[in-house]
Amino acid sequence: MALEIETSLTEILARCHELSLRQRIPDDEAGMAIGYFPVYFPEEIVHAAGLRPHALYGGGNHIEVRYADARIGSFVCSICRSTTELGLNGSLKGLGGFFAQPICDAAKHMAGIWGRNFPQQDPQILALPQNVNSPASARYVYDEYQRLRGILAEKVGHEITDEAIRASVRVYNENRRLQRALYAIKRDDPARLSTVEAYLLIRAGTRLRREEHNELLRAALRLLPERRVRQMDKPRVIFLGGFCEQPPLEMIETIEDVCFIVDDDLLIGQRWITEDVPEEGDPVWALAESYIERSAASPVQYDARKRKEDVLMRMLHEAHAEATIISAAKFCEPGLDDQLAQSRWLDQQDIPYLVLEFEEKMTSFEQMAMQVETFAESLLFE
């Protein structure tokens, strides 16, 4: 029985893993796939148009950069570089649209790069506002989401109805509930579900129809309670720094060899709305208002109500974590700035933390393992 459950889980995870490596747009999605660069993006509207949201989470450490180095400065983060590479090497040829959001200065340039190189994909900036504290904010997000709706309607040649968007919101609300259930397991019983496993399960959603992803998550959630678990004595930590560029799997594994990651900001773009989006009323308004009122904090969002230190404190408290691993992608200015603010705050609170820097393309983890082990040793052997 235990073996069967493990086999079934492994099958699901192997599928997720295969999906996470898929960069090329499948032929049957050509023209239907709407690419978007992290972090916050209202996939529901794309889904409601009958198109396929295609999250662009970089090239990881499996692609070779041949063309993009000639186009992107040497001091720019890897996700911008590898995404450009995927464009230039033809992997994203099938995109029927491309959206970047002004989350940071490098991301804004993605629309310009795309415009010069792939004008036929109609690259656009979706102007997500950096001021969410004005009474006018929700209305502005609403206007911009309506613009998105108009662009997509033109692509598919018909109007996208409120009813269609509401139906998509329901599918995505279900998806978010399932993701929250995964995170609850990870928090309450971390030996039962590793962060790499949760990560693969959630990342699969970037390459599947959302309904299908819901089924996959439900299947995993059915199996997990039955899984046989070996309890281990590892410190409980929070991992920060994976909100945009994604750390390599090896990095998460390296941390999990000696720590339990009981909460994190990995793939926050797939989990950016933290509660259910209202399923009644104007659905575009519901989405816009959810960005203002129910979105996860990240270094690329300014909100006077979400001080970075408070957000971290709440995470530590709710996840019963004893320490933090604060990571930042190389050259990610928002991440590096927050990393410093948070580490100074942790110093004041006398909460142990480890600072790590990563790049999605890194392939050597020995040095990192040494640091993480030392950190765990310092937590365990008080």
């Binding site: 492994t10 590793s194 090896e250 040095q367 640091q371 040793e377 310092s378 052997f381």
Partner: protein, 301 residues
């Protein structure tokens, strides 16, 4: 000689493999050192042979073996592996209870470690991205000036007017060195300039962990009097150095010390010391390696 517990610490570094044998009284019973070469496991085994020979004991008399250094997982006969940071910290804390900040300048990286009064690691930072901030920078400069690594310190001490070396890349620092030589700067001033530059980077890293005194230096640079002087002048405070030539052996000493503590703890709890299994622990399926099997990014050369 069979007097109580014997614990070995073996530090498998990229260049040298070092070992220390400690007795119950925490006294050093023997030390050994060899080049790591291409086969770290073999080097560790040979160093262990040397160690027991030097101590004139039998291998079986060694109660516990703790490994550290980059090859810490490559030794099948170990009881436990501990990172070199933890080891350096505990060793330094043992020798100098007042030390709060440790600097370790290695060939591949620099480490700054903050410790508490018990020698426990409180915070640490590494610089390993660019060779300009590591001991390799000095070796490069020395090589260019035709010096042996071991002579760097004594040579630099002759300097009266060190030059400023501002290049951020160790390779391009060479061009600076060429330029300085061409414009008539004497080699010792260049060598000292490189030491001052590296010292500055090292102290900056120490600031990242708080720069709380007392300070200690660990690793190979303890043999370099010019580096020690440069750091002390930059810090405006003296540096504690490992005693009795233990500088290079600090990691191994720390490993042995932690091993001894562990043995004492196990014995106090009435638990047995299991022989090393020689096998690595069972590890969960690693999805990253799963990737490597299914979609190997083979070099198309």
């Amino acid at each position: 000689m069979t007097t109580g517990i014997l614990v070995a610490g073996i530090d498998i570094g990229s260049t040298y493999t070092k070992a220390v044998l400690l007795g119950t009284s925490r006294g050093v019973r023997a030390t050994a050192i060899r080049r790591s070469g291409y086969k770290p496991a073999a080097a560790a085994s040979a160093v262990f042979d040397d160690l027991v020979a030097n101590a004139m004991v039998a291998k079986e008399e060694v109660t516990y073996i703790a490994t550290t250094g980059y090859g810490r997982y490559m030794v099948p006969f170990r009881h436990a592996q501990i990172t070199e940071l933890t080891c350096h910290a505990v060793a330094t804390g043992h020798h100098f209870p007042a030390v709060r900040t440790i600097l370790d300048i290695g060939g591949q990286d620099i480490k700054a470690i903050r410790i508490d009064g018990m020698g426990r690691v409180r915070a640490f930072r590494l610089n390993d991205k660019c060779a300009a901030g590591t001991g390799a920078f000095l070796e490069k400069t020395a090589r260019y000036l035709g010096l042996e690594t071991g002579d760097i310190g004594a040579y630099a001490l002759r300097s009266r007017k060190p030059v400023e070396i501002s290049s951020v890349c160790a390779v391009f620092a060479e061009s600076e060195v060429i330029n300085h030589l061409a414009s008539g700067v004497v080699p010792e001033d260049i060598m000292e300039g490189a030491i001052v530059a590296l010292g500055g980077r090292a102290v900056q890293l120490m600031k990242r962990v708080g720069l709380e005194p007392d300070f200690a230096l660990a690793g190979g640079m303890t043999n370099n009097p010019a580096m020690v002087a440069a750091l002390e002048s930059r810090l405006g405070a003296p540096l504690h150095l490992p005693p009795n030539g233990l500088g290079q052996l600090n990691g191994a000493f720390g490993a042995a010390l932690l091993g001894l503590r562990r043995v004492e703890r196990l014995l106090a709890d009435g638990r047995a010391i299991m022989p090393p299994s020689g096998e690595d622990e069972f590890k969960a399926l690693r999805w990253s390696t799963y990737v490597a099997q299914s979609a190997s990014p083979a070099i198309s050369a």
